[in-house]
């Protein structure tokens, strides 16, 4: 050890020019370091955070400025920079606005295009008095603005027009475009899944057969014949290179040849011949072996088995461990010019292919989309010599013509797989631009705020937005044309032909296809049914009228309208759906027929038809998967939500039939009742959410009883979500559409029963019990009232705490269900079958002496003496003391004991056996052989290995019926539980609610009056919270310290602090929310209230007119108002935008948030509040009326103060930044590491 201190990197001592520093907390021999050494090490390490490797102390750097730096930057420089900044900002703002405009026009374009196409299809304006401009702007169905003004006359104000345009054109357009983009995105993802799916390729090859492949050996032979006589000298290289692929093919002989580049540089031709012979022999030999790799390569020749390539890439790489091989070859080119041709030959196929791909790529976008995976795959291969063999196998044909000049092996770097439909902006330029962007970003890391835009693919110039716009609009036109105009036209034509035919040959035609009379008859019948029912059964009338109004009437009308020869009104939405549906059916049938035609010929299908079929097949498979997933994930929950809506209606709606003038309005749905006035999109979303929650809940319940209560295998027919064999995509691709639709329909029926039977029946019957839906007055329990605004806030808080404490519910629920199942199964004698707990007493039934004993279930039979029914009767006669006898019946069966058995195995189940598993030949139960004839017709690809297992369990007679009863019983128990909890919650909650209400009323806070005799949602939630606390009290985990009940603390225990991470996330979100809202509030207050008030006071005008009872909110544009609004922007809008930028910072530095930010911003609001309160207090104290003008002056003062303070602060920040910038650019001499303070003493 030296006594002297040394640098920990170079071990050098301290010198005057290179003093030793100690910038971190390390001590001892590694304490000191030279500045230069540290810098070198940091740059070598190239880590972002500059800190010590050992003690993790971040190094602190000090910027060294020039000694003669002026304390004040030159004014000219500062001004120059401010001007430059303003110019840059202006340009950026302009370009941003331009970009925003280009994006904003997309929904408009969509809507316009759609309308244009609609009128093109219709051939005329929908309503004669509309002008084309009107129709484009407001749509064909809108005649009046929301305020009631007729849009086609001069009555309508500009505001009316803008409002109508926004609500009837722009907003729907925006929604539709968003949905369109979402759908495209989903389709793209599913397409990726589908083409990677093994079943897809199997199915495809099943349809079109395997492509006859070119044998490598033949190819070699051909090559030899063509070239070797002339290029004998190059034989060795050819041999080595071309044989490489086969080396990858586990060929021992060829591998040996390939792995050891022959020492002899110029072997004679015979060696090559021998190698080729070897190769051929090998292929013949190994065809049977068919190793996975071999198969993969073989399949890969078809070019569509991308996944195979993925699997086997690793193998190929490991087998070709000689990356220098190609390099060697290339070196040889320089040495021996006569060998060039061979190399050319080697390079030819890939270049050729690459060229093709390149053309392909540029040629047509749709094709490139379809081939993108393949292209990507092949292109990736180009760079790597190790993959060359693989690539050569890619050759589709063997017409390799030699070329005399040598093409340099080019290294294409094509853009990755592009899908023009999905990411509309993903063009080649875009990608290139992005790469530039990445570089830019690296260079200019300081521009953190700009990166937000740049990451979104936005760059400040004026051309990109236009390109994007044109691309997007082109896609829209293309899509609307093919998906809307064409099918609609076909549908129109269909009806046109039908009407024409009906007109011409009315007599024959109507007797053959009596569509119209039938429809008319059905419609009339339906209406008659509704009115006939209405007299006697108001509820049934309700249902039938609703169904008629929502579903049947529009449909019938649409068809009748379409087929009528003289029409006046424009086609309704339903009618258009009918047209489109028919058009799509035609198109689908045509495609289907064409595809069938393509594969009807001899297999394998080759050439163009093969390519076409592949493309079509890809589209069809994706569409199929999309349809099935769409139905399952979107439509099905919506359907469930709709059913739930029906079931919840009796809880909340006070009247179902409302006399509205002459006609009656029917309310069967919660979402159609007037007070809730839902937007349709929102309604569907709500349905979807509710349905998804419900389905999720059911799934949770099923998995709970499956894992905790039931014998494994009872629910064999419901797929477990944990099933390792589940292959969703595979099943969706491979199983026939019909089967899947049937399956979905089945589950639709199950859910219909579950929801309507399990929930609807309970709610509706409860409602009828409490007060009839036709009754006008309010019942005590129903309808449940919705709380007011304050109630909603309380509701949110309570809901949160309920959700938070949901874990406590799980235990009692499980126990409840365990008990219920035990009771039910025992009563139904199913304990062995359902719960796997054999109960000997269940193996028969009890015969009682007479009905009296039977009903009261008096007397216990002697289970040790089982007897038959007749014997029992005889016993009763013989012995009067015997009340009950035990008569065994039923049998043992084989039942599946695992949830993932194979289908074929399940067909052998439920076979009656003895207790020791010997089959009993029961009359008529020939199940063993029964199912054999329709084996696996469902879907042919069932190659998963299942673990089939079964158990022998007792089955009482009428097993199916008993199971059905069991399900009914479970439903009953569920309903009982729900009703009990609900009523308990109502009773408990009402007390709390009343107390809280009375307490609030004592405070000077306005609160709406409420009748506490009726149930309301708030009290229900309060009640649930109390119930939950009670449950939590009994469910609390036993702690070693606290065994007994802990009083109130135990009840509050579930309210204990949530996990730290959750708290952190919430506080992040909370502070972000505070930041955002406080700024938004300032923005709103200033612009909507203060400024217009000032304006009114000084100029007598108002920019914004607030909504009053008589008139809606309106804009009253005046120049002065506009000027005032704009003038206030620097103080309002920029901080508002700034608050967005603050949010990420906030999330990064949680502690800072609480220190100053939100409070700082809120302070400005507080100024106003404090002033107002002071005024108010002053007035109260002096008992004087404060004139309105005083308030106005207060506001003036506050507004000016806020704007001034903010502007000043912004200017200050700007100046500081610019000064820093100038300093950095002009006067920086370098950086120095700073010592850790307090460590100087040795």
């Amino acid at each position: 050890m030296t006594d002297e201190n040394t640098c920990r990197i170079c071990r050098g001592e301290s010198t005057p020019s290179q003093p030793l520093l100690h910038p971190c907390k390390c001590r001892g021999s590694i304490k000191y370091i030279h500045q230069d050494c540290l810098m070198e090490w940091l740059s070598h390490q190239s880590k972002k955070d500059k800190k010590c490797d050992i003690c993790d102390t971040p190094y602190r750097f000090r910027v060294i400025y020039d000694a003669n730096m002026p304390s004040q930057m030159p004014l000219g420089e500062v001004v120059h920079r401010i001007v430059a900044l303003v110019g840059k900002t202006c340009f950026r703002t302009l370009s941003f606005i331009f970009f925003a405009l280009c994006v904003a026009q997309i929904p408009l374009f969509w809507k316009f295009m759609g309308r244009l196409f609609t009128y093109a299809v219709d051939g005329k304006m929908p309503v004669p008095k509309f002008t084309a401009r009107h129709v484009l702007l407001y749509g064909a169905y809108t005649t009046h603005a929301r305020s009631g003004a007729d849009l086609s006359t001069e009555n309508a104000t500009l505001y009316d027009k803008v409002e109508t345009f926004f609500y009837d054109t722009y907003l729907p357009g925006l929604f539709q475009v968003l949905v369109f983009v979402l759908v495209l995105f989903v389709v793209f993802i599913e397409h990726e899944w589908v083409v990677r799916e093994e079943g897809y390729t199997k199915l495809l090859l099943r349809q079109i057969g395997r492509e006859p492949r070119t044998k490598l050996a033949d190819l070699l032979g051909l090559m030899r014949e063509n070239h070797l006589p002339r290029q004998a000298g190059a034989g060795d290289d050819t041999n080595t290179n071309v044989e490489n692929p086969q080396a990858a093919n586990n060929n021992a002989a060829a591998a040996a040849a390939a792995a050891n580049p022959a020492p002899n540089p110029r072997p004679d031709e015979s060696s090559l011949n021998r190698a080729i012979e070897d190769l051929r022999q090998f292929q013949a030999n190994h065809r049977a072996n068919d190793s996975p790799l071999h198969r993969a390569l073989e399949r890969n020749e078809y070019g569509d088995l991308i996944n195979a390539a993925f699997y086997d890439r690793g193998n190929i790489e490991t087998m070709n461990r000689d990356p220098y091989e190609t390099e060697n070859t290339l070196n040889l080119t320089q040495e021996a010019p006569e060998q060039l041709q061979t190399i050319a030959l080697n390079n030819l196929p890939e270049d050729d292919e690459a060229d093709q791909d390149y053309v392909h790529e540029e040629g047509s976008e749709s094709e490139s989309e379809i081939d993108s995976d393949t292209d990507g795959e092949e292109l990736n291969l180009h760079d790597e010599p190790g993959r060359r063999p693989h690539q050569q196998d890619h050759r589709h044909n063997n017409d390799v013509h030699p070329i005399e000049d040598v093409p340099q092996p080019r290294n294409f770097r094509l853009p990755d797989a592009i899908n023009p439909d999905v990411l509309e902006d993903e063009t080649a330029e875009e990608l290139e631009r992005r790469q530039n962007l990445v570089e830019d970003e690296m260079m200019a890391a300081e521009a953190a705020n700009e990166n937000i835009f740049e990451l979104l693919g936005f760059r400040f110039n004026l051309i990109t937005p236009i390109q994007l716009m044109i691309l997007a609009d082109f896609i829209i036109v293309l899509f609307l044309f093919s998906a809307y105009l064409v099918p609609h036209t076909i549908g129109n034509m269909f009806f046109y032909i039908y009407v024409f035919a009906a007109k011409s040959f009315r007599a024959i035609f109507t007797s053959l296809v009596p569509l119209i009379p039938l429809l008319e008859y059905m419609r009339d019948k339906f209406e008659a049914l509704g009115s006939a029912l209405g007299a006697k059964f108001p509820f049934l009338a309700l249902v039938s009228n609703l169904a008629n109004a929502v579903i049947f009437k529009p449909l019938f009308d649409a068809v009748l309208n379409a087929t009528s020869t003289s029409r006046t009104s424009p086609p309704s939405l339903t009618e258009r759906c009918v047209y489109l549906g028919i058009g799509w059916v035609f198109i689908c049938n045509a495609v289907n027929g064409y595809m069938k035609n393509l594969v009807s010929r001899e297999k394998p299908v080759v050439g163009t038809s093969r390519k076409i079929y592949k493309v079509l097949f890809r589209i069809v498979a994706t569409a199929k998967v999309f349809a099935i997933f769409g139905i399952e994930i979107v439509l099905f929950p919506i359907y469930c939500g709709f059913l739930l809506d029906i079931c919840l209606a009796p809880l909340f709606i006070d009247q179902f039939i409302v006399q509205n003038g002459a006609q009656k309005d029917y309310y069967l749905l919660l979402t159609t009742s007037k007070e809730l006035g839902f937007n349709n999109y929102f309604r569907v979303l709500l349905y979807w959410l509710a349905g998804t929650c419900y389905m999720f809940f059911i799934a949770l319940f099923v998995s709970m009883i499956r894992s905790k209560i039931l014998r494994p295998g009872v629910l064999y027919f419901i797929k477990s979500p944990e099933d390792p064999n589940a292959r969703l995509i595979h099943d969706a691709v491979v199983k026939p559409m019909k089967l899947q639709i049937l399956r979905i329909l089945l589950s639709a029926r199950v859910y219909l029963t579950l929801i309507l039977g399990g929930i609807g029946a309970v709610t509706w019957s409860l409602r009828f019990l409490v007060n009839s839906p036709t009754a006008a007055e309010q019942g005590a329990l129903f309808p449940i009232q919705f709380p007011g605004v304050i109630g909603v806030l309380a509701l949110k808080a309570i809901l949160y705490s309920i959700i938070h404490d949901r874990e406590v519910i799980v235990g009692p629920c499980q126990r409840f269900w365990k008990r219920s199942f035990a009771v039910l199964s025992h009563k139904l004698r199913l304990s062995h079958f359902i719960l796997d707990t054999p109960v000997p007493q269940e193996r028969g039934y009890v015969v009682y002496r007479n009905l009296f004993y039977r009903i009261l279930e008096l007397g216990v039979p002697d289970y040790t003496k089982p007897m038959s029914y007749s014997e029992a009767q005889a016993t009763f006669k013989a012995d009067p003391t015997v009340i009950a006898c035990f008569v065994p019946d039923g049998t043992y069966i084989r039942a599946p004991s695992s949830d993932d058995n194979s289908r074929s195995f399940l067909k052998l189940m439920f076979l009656p056996v003895t207790k020791s598993d010997h089959p009993i030949a029961v009359e008529g139960s020939n199940k063993l052989k029964a199912e054999n004839d329709d084996e696996d017709q469902d879907w042919w690809d069932a190659d998963i290995t299942y673990e089939d297992s079964y158990a022998v369990v007792y089955s009482p007679p009428n097993l199916r019926l008993r199971c059905f009863y069991l399900i009914c019983g479970v439903c009953l128990f569920a309903a009982l539980l729900a009703v009990c909890v609900f009523i308990a919650a109502v009773i408990l909650g009402a007390i709390i609610d009343l107390t809280v209400f009375k307490a609030i009323k004592m405070l000077p806070i306005p609160i709406e009056e409420h009748d506490f005799r009726f149930a309301n949602m708030r009290s229900v939630l309060f009640g649930l919270r109390i119930l939950l606390s009670i449950v939590a009290y009994y469910e609390r985990p036993p702690t070693p310290n606290n065994n007994g009940p802990g009083g109130i603390a135990a009840i509050v225990a579930p309210l204990r602090a949530p996990p730290a991470e959750l708290l952190a996330v919430w506080s992040y979100l909370g502070s972000a929310f505070v930041l955002f809202t406080s700024n938004a509030a300032i923005f709103m207050i200033l612009h909507v209230f203060f400024i217009p008030q000032l304006e009114q006071y000084f100029f007598g005008l108002r920019f914004w007119l607030l909504a009053t009872k008589d008139a809606p909110a309106q804009i009253n544009p005046t120049w002065i108002g506009l000027a005032l609004q704009v003038a206030a922007l620097p103080g309002t809008f920029f901080p508002f935008v700034f608050s967005f930028r603050m949010i990420p910072n906030v999330i990064n530095q949680q502690e800072n948030v609480f220190k100053y930010r939100p409070f700082y911003i809120q302070n400005e609001c507080l100024i106003y509040l404090v002033l107002l309160m002071a005024l108010e207090g002053f007035a109260r104290y002096k008992r004087v009326e404060i004139p309105e003008t005083t308030f106005i002056y207060t506001r003036v003062f506050v507004t000016v103060a806020i704007v001034a303070v903010r502007s000043y602060a912004m200017l200050q920040v700007l100046l500081t930044k610019i000064t820093e910038q100038i300093k950095k650019e002009k006067y920086v001499r370098g950086t120095a590491v700073e010592n850790i303070p307090g460590e100087d003493e040795h």
Binding site: R8, I9, C10, R11, G12
Partner: protein, 168 residues
């Protein structure tokens, strides 16, 4: 020869320091005065291990940007050990270039850093000989042998040790 580069300066320093107080069982120094970047080392096998009583020669090759990059240590002749490749290269975390391990096996502070030195490397290698780490094995056969058949492993190592001493 006058040292010019940082690496040369540092290597010279390290050599001087190592020469001043040599750890027991370790001898190391540059092969020649002209080339400080290649060192010859002799390591004594640690006691109570199969390597006991053996003396093993290893070559340290330093990169030109030493100490920013770690040196390479190769046993010549190769030694049977789970953490030594078949060509004799030692695989030990202290000799791995700095930064995050892509496999997340080694923490960054276990890897090379300029504060390490030749002495520490050699000490680490001696302790590696005493306690192999089969979890990040370099020689699969040796790993297997060490794990499954310790006796055979010890026997082979002893033979190697004897060979290295020229006794066999």
């Amino acid at each position: 020869m006058k040292p010019r580069s940082t690496a040369q300066k540092r290597l010279l320093k390290e050599y001087q320091q190592l020469a001043r107080d040599l750890p027991p069982g370790i001898v190391a120094g540059p092969i020649s005065d002209d080339n400080l970047f290649e060192w010859d080392c002799l390591l004594e096998g640690p006691e109570d291990t199969p390597y006991e009583n053996g003396v093993f020669r290893a070559v340290l090759k330093f990169p030109t940007d030493y100490p920013l990059s770690p040196p390479l240590l190769t046993f010549d002749p190769p030694l049977l050990h789970p953490n030594i490749y078949e060509d004799g290269t030692v695989c030990i975390s202290i000799l791995h270039p700095p930064g995050e391990d892509p496999n997340q096996y080694e923490r960054p502070e276990e890897r090379w850093s300029p504060i390490q030195s030749v002495e520490k490397i050699l000490l680490s290698v001696v302790s590696m000989l005493a306690e192999p780490n089969p979890e990040s094995g370099a020689n699969i056969d040796a790993c297997k042998l060490w794990r499954d058949d310790r006796d055979a492993f010890c026997r082979q190592v002893r033979v190697q040790a004897l060979k290295a001493l020229g006794l066999l």
